[in-house]
């Protein structure tokens, strides 16, 4: 569950986040908040370490928004470590390890 906050209207709504990270904005909420693609919305997650506010972006149509942090990367721990190792090795071999 997330709380959707309208910066312009000063209202908050508790909404459900689906497993794929999509948040469906009910028509009633959409109407009350006058949501468009340009509407500045933020959200915070309920009941978990006070996650900070995150921007949302319009996806496909006017009622489905995707959490900004829902990055398309779907990597396991091992894949992340392997990817970093490969990149790091490349910078090492190119002599580009330091900042100055």
């Amino acid at each position: 569950m997330v709380i959707v906050v309208s910066e312009t209207k000063g209202k908050e709504y508790i909404l459900h986040v689906s497993s794929n990270g999509m948040i469906t904005i009910p028509a009633k909420v959409k109407k009350e908040l006058d949501i468009t693609a340009e509407t500045p919305l933020k959200l915070r997650v309920v009941g978990r370490n006070e996650l900070s506010l995150k921007k949302m972006r319009l996806v496909e149509d006017s009622v489905a928004f995707q959490v900004w942090r829902e990055h398309p990367l779907k990597l396991s721990r091992e894949q992340i470590v392997g990817k970093v190792r490969k990149i790091r090795r490349g910078f090492y071999e190119a002599g580009e390890q330091f900042d100055g």
């Binding site: 996650l51 990055h71 398309p72 990367l73 779907k74 390890q97």
Partner: protein, 135 residues
């Protein structure tokens, strides 16, 4: 598993941790980013690795820039010079700038990499994200 008291500890974030925040939504990764009551540091070199990793995954340049900008807002980003790496000898020399960064910042190196975690302990304290005590 041993848990680390993270109260006011200084953490140097390895690239793997930063990617994890954006690549997955594990509680530990999120706890690092949002729940950690500690000083968060990283280096320009780590950001270079992060940028390359995200671009390799076909992330849009705009999004990559957003991610890097957010890291800059949430972390103190330092520059690491070769002089700061003096005396560090690792089996994998490519890890030296990361260990040098943590040592220069007098910080605990936070990484997902088990090999780096083990080898860096000769020079700095190390921890996995899952070892962090929830705040």
């Amino acid at each position: 598993m041993k848990r680390v008291n993270n109260s006011m500890v200084r953490f140097f974030l390895d690239t793997s941790c930063l990617i994890a925040v954006y690549a997955k939504h594990s509680p530990s990764a999120i706890a690092i980013w949002f729940g950690m009551n500690a000083v968060k540091l990283t280096s320009e070199y780590v950001l270079k690795e992060l940028r390359r990793a995200l671009l390799d995954e076909d992330a849009r340049l705009e999004r990559v820039n957003d991610v890097v900008d957010e890291v800059r807002r949430k972390c103190t980003v330092v520059k690491i010079t070769p002089q700061q790496a003096k005396g560090i000898a690792l089996e994998d020399k490519s890890d030296i700038p990361i260990v040098a960064g943590a040592r220069a910042c007098n910080a605990v190196l936070l990484t997902l990499d088990r090999k780096l975690h083990a080898q860096a302990r000769k020079y700095v304290k190390t921890a996995f994200p899952e070892e962090l005590a929830k705040t």
